[in-house]
Symmetry: C2
Subunit: 368 residues, 2 copies
DNA sequence: TAGGGTCCTGTAAGCGCTTACCGGTAAGCG
DNA sequence: CGCTTACCGGTAAGCGCTTACAGGACCCTA
């Protein structure tokens, strides 16, 4: 209708300027709302922009003002053998990413995502390449060794999720300790169980180490007997949880009265394995999870677990990264409160809506 | 240990060059594997790069050679009222994105993602901003009107998913027609059901329109009676499916012998609603889904459905976008084959592994 | 009416990288 | 031994945008 459409030679700010009969500086100012252009100038520029469908080039902009408005997010994608329902873990990561995005959009940033397979070799190189395209990086759990992170962190701002801060990188995590503590107290004090077990997660996960340690400390403090050892090593998966139960039982070991699982998926596998052996939950053995994934409430019995504010975790991670990017500051280690969600797998009655206040350690103890 | 670390003044190719004692052009060549630098030159550059932990700036690179190596991906995030399990839809999108990423990584591209809420207002502006940061865009279903897409498409290469091509944009979708056809034939010919119904998806979804039309055409061709009308309007959600069944029943209508659902989630709601009324699946009414989401096989009864190659869809979308970006070509409308997955909700026996070949229309008919 | 402010707007200098182009050196050949 | 050819490597010109700086127009005051 109008022009025969530019010969694909990329529309630039010069095209807009000449069409509007002003200089490129004016176009730039109008587009960025700087200075105080005359109403007429602004109008002419806007009109030219509209007519041309002009969108400023992000790369040029980034180069010019040293800000790409992009954060890189790196995570591991499942891979290997997918136990049924293992795909849940996608969701977990996805929810966090959604949170990051929410934070990012508030500042006009976008997410540049890159997943890494478990057996990809050039991980460090891939991450470095991503770093070049972003203002900062957010790394999900278990992406890089501590030295890897440290090295990365001095080329670009880095925030890790559920890890631990290094001299140069920041970290955001949930309050695992309080969560485990609330769980143990609920089981020992409220229910009176005297023996506990903990099906652990991947040995190389900081989250797991913290949970495991908190379990031992708190159980002992509460006066409960604990069952531990290599037989209790799971790997955050349902298959891992099932295996632990099976091998424990096959070895003729007596199960403790209550079993805490490193996460909900593990609990799912444990409950499944228990059901196969005819062991009732919670009548014979009480089970608890960690995470409160969406399906947790639909299990049989509904799972008592710890809810982590995952979306908030993501948003917080962005905020911290952002402050590091813009001001250079940023809190080194941020801990978010968790919440005890009591359902039935611990032995509570179906509709016991509330639970004695003292148990909601994290909820009441860390309200901001 | 080594240097006191540059004063944060961004490391550039000049720093590398001077440290290696060569020119910036040489550094660039080494880094990009162009020309044929002397072994010694290459080595010195690499060493300097290593010592400095240098990563070239993506923006500068993009600006210089006109390629950002970034594709923008836009999708709607749930929002509103989340029916239980509705979060599944995350997964759906996520799997496609994973596919896009796989394709992208082969070319050294990364994904710049941006989700849009259902009630965000400035959608077009947000997408335009994203366009400025990417070489091309992939839009998930129902992101923009046809004119919106057309307008966008003449600023940047655009590929839509499950939509329809416009003069300027490309599209990739699954073979809905064949899927519905296989389903209808299986129900009518193999099972002998004479009356069918179709719980539709969102009215504004091209996928849904195609499925709906294919349903009517094929059912009539197979000689079955079909039940249609506004009462059958679902919206791709479990809640929608449940509502359709409930209102149909409340109105005293007799249900057809078999009901096809616009997607698996809808089927989930339908089965749920049916169970509440004491109607048995598949004995009283046979149900089928579409998509084959992971939980489909775990429903009661396991859901007969159509599997869409979602990851492949994503990968294909990237490939097409890439060819448009690099060569300007690209197939306008790409159709991927689907596969009939027979389980029990259609009335088949639990372990009937295989099904007569002629039903797997898409599988056998479109093998590449 | 001239001097001094105020506002706007235009000119031009980069941001960090790629690459065309050209000069210098070494190797090949007669 | 001198000239051609090949091969490397350096210089410099942008890529599209932001922004410091300076110039012009206009208004106010004396």
């Amino acid at each position: 209708m109008t022009e025969p459409k530019k010969a694909k030679g990329t529309l630039t700010i010069y095209d807009v300027a000449s069409r509007a009969g002003v200089s490129i500086a004016s176009v730039s100012r109008v587009l960025n709302g700087l200075g105080s252009p005359r109403a007429e100038t602004r109008e002419r520029v806007m009109q030219a922009v509209r007519e041309l469908s002009f969108v400023p080039d992000g790369a040029a902009r980034a180069l010019s003002n040293g800000l790409k408005e992009v954060v890189g997010v790196v995570f591991r994608r499942g891979g290997e053998e997918l136990f049924e329902g293992e795909d849940e873990s996608f969701l977990f990561i996805d929810v966090i990413n959604r949170g990051i995005e929410v934070g990012a959009q508030r500042r006009g940033f976008d997410l540049l995502i890159s997943s890494v397979g478990f057996n990809d070799d050039n991980v460090a190189a891939r991450i470095a390449a991503l770093a070049g395209k972003a203002d900062g990086l957010i790394l999900h759990d278990r992406m890089l060794s501590a030295v890897g992170i440290a090295r990365l962190a001095d080329m670009v701002p880095v925030v890790t999720l559920a890890g631990s801060p290094t001299p140069a990188s920041l970290n955001v995590r949930c309050d695992n300790e309080s969560g485990i503590r609330a769980l143990v107290r609920h089981l020992v004090i409220d229910h009176g169980y005297r023996s506990l077990g903990y099906v652990s997660g991947r040995a190389d996960s900081p989250d797991n180490r913290t949970r495991s340690r908190a379990f031992e400390t708190e159980a002992v403090a509460a006066g409960a007997a604990i069952d531990t050892g290599p037989a209790w090593q799971g790997n955050y998966s349902a298959a891992g949880g099932a295996t632990v139960v099976a091998s424990l039982l096959d070895a003729g070991r007596k199960l403790p009265r209550a079993i805490l699982c490193a996460n909900d998926q593990t609990a799912l596998g444990v409950i499944h394995a228990l059901a196969q052996r005819g062991i009732r939950v919670p009548q014979d053995v009480a089970i608890t999870g960690f995470d409160d994934v969406p399906v947790a409430r639909h299990l049989h019995p509904p799972l008592t677990t710890i809810r982590q504010p995952m979306q908030e975790l993501g948003a917080k991670a962005f905020d911290i990264l952002y402050s590091r990017i813009s001001a250079g500051g940023g809190k080194a280690d941020t801990v978010l409160p968790v919440e005890l969600i009591v359902r039935e797998s611990c032995g509570c009655a179906p509709n016991s809506k509330s639970v004695s206040g003292t148990d909601l350690v994290s909820k009441d103890g860390q309200r901001r």
